[in-house]
Amino acid sequence: MTAARSFARRSSDWLPPVVVFVAVLVVWEVSFLALQVKAFLIPRPTVIAGALVDQWPILSRGLRYTGSEALFGLLTGVALGTAAGLATARWPTARQALIPIGTGMSTIPIIAFAPITLNWFGLESPLPRITIVALMTFFPVMVNTIRGLTEVDPAALELMASYAAPEGAVIRRLRIPNALPYWFTALRIAVTLSVIGAVVGEFFGGPQYSIGNYVTNMTGQFKYPNAWAAIIIACALGISLYLVAVAAERIVMPWHRRREALGQQ
């Protein structure tokens, strides 16, 4: 297929959302200008952009701080969750029991522990948020790792049995590769949770330049363009981490075509 044809083909994929994005921005800017909307709470895009540039020193510091909280918590939670999941690889009963428990734990609002962790580690430390993020990401990763190890095609298991494969080989050659898609799904979820955990944790307390704290302060002082600028930074952080997770998935599993939401009919 020629380059031009493939570009034309793919453009029908990405053109509509881009059109929507640009259209929304334009309508937002123009209508607010034209209607002289007292854009108290929702400033025009250009005003927000101005605040972004203006406040960049603080925002970039907050980005580094909150971002690293999210990242460290994420790495800890994911590592521990994966380890916990793998530890059960040999015991089917443990696997069966831990899945509902892990899912149950995910429904508990772990973020409610934020004040407690603040109390443990004090206001100056990033540890409260890191702990919360680690807890939040631990359970989905553990549950999905276990599910991936467990939900193997029975026919494949029979095949391994017919080779008289020892349990270790079954785990290495069958269960773990089978678990990869599940693990990456959990990674996507964990990435989103990590940013939320870090930012919301800061609502309860944290350095003034941290994103969560900054947003609440600015909102309290009615400086909405600044608050929105910080929110855009937080969104950018979330989206970038998500894209990194997706990229990692494509690199590790190039054969796995995700057709989640977009089915056939």
């Binding site: 509509p16 709470l41 508990i108 609002p109 973020i111 930012v199 609502f203 929110i231 989206i239 939401a261």
Partner: protein, 308 residues
Amino acid sequence: MTAAVATAPSIANPTAAPGRRRVVMAWLVIVIGLVVVWEGAKWLFGDPWRIHTSLLGLPIDIEHIPPFKSRIATDLSLPHVWKVVGAFIEPAQRNGPPLGLILAGQALFTFREALIGFVFGGLLGLLLGVGFVHSKLAERAFVPYVVASQTVPILAISPLIVVATKAGWVSVAIISAYLTFFPVTIAALRGLRAADPRAFELMRSYAATKRNVLWKLRLPTSVPYLFSSLRVAAAASVIGAIIGELPSGIPDGLGSALLNYNQYYTSGPERLWATIVMCSIVGLGFVGLVRLGEVLLTRNRYRPQESR
């Protein structure tokens, strides 16, 4: 053999009694284990205590000094388990009603916000799913934003939403709805398309209209998928409600209880822990309700799937 419904996510199987018993046992083990670890940590790292009393005329004087010390295990950071349980019964304020009652009222308030958000978010998700299934253009234009909405830390925006709408619990319900609609949309997109392609051919052979196909094939097929996502959405909507209340200044919900007992932590740490327990109860309870609804609606209508 019948492939009218493609492999659906696991449906609550009422006949899986032995499995459930094992799960209950496992929960008990975990809870007991947690209590043991908790008190064990206090035994080793916590504050010293002594009992100086007399029982049946015999003097009892027990003293325990833990060998190590850690800030995390002090009575302030980690109150004794029985103190937390006791906090429910004791009044929060002088001559006031027991804390448990107050928390229950606040829990109901927060639950109501979560429920309203859940219902609206669920309906929105379903509508979006139906819309996207019928219009490829709409799907291509808007699904990226649906996915992107998941990556946006909405809870970071919640202060602004709450202050913006100045509508009290309505803004909290909006946050819950936001957290609900995404998983439901994705599940609806999958479920509405999940029927066997031959079932679609069959409908075509009946010269069925799009409405026929939607109501008689797509929607019933999507029910198991929707319930799977509704469980996740239920948990998310509770969390959304609690977090949403934080910046709003609404005094009636669990969010404000969290802030309140956080502020006065030093005078009664067990109250904050009790609030957290109540938050968990609301979350688990809501998910349990959804599961119950799922069992009632799908028990004999859909073939049971075993969880492996």
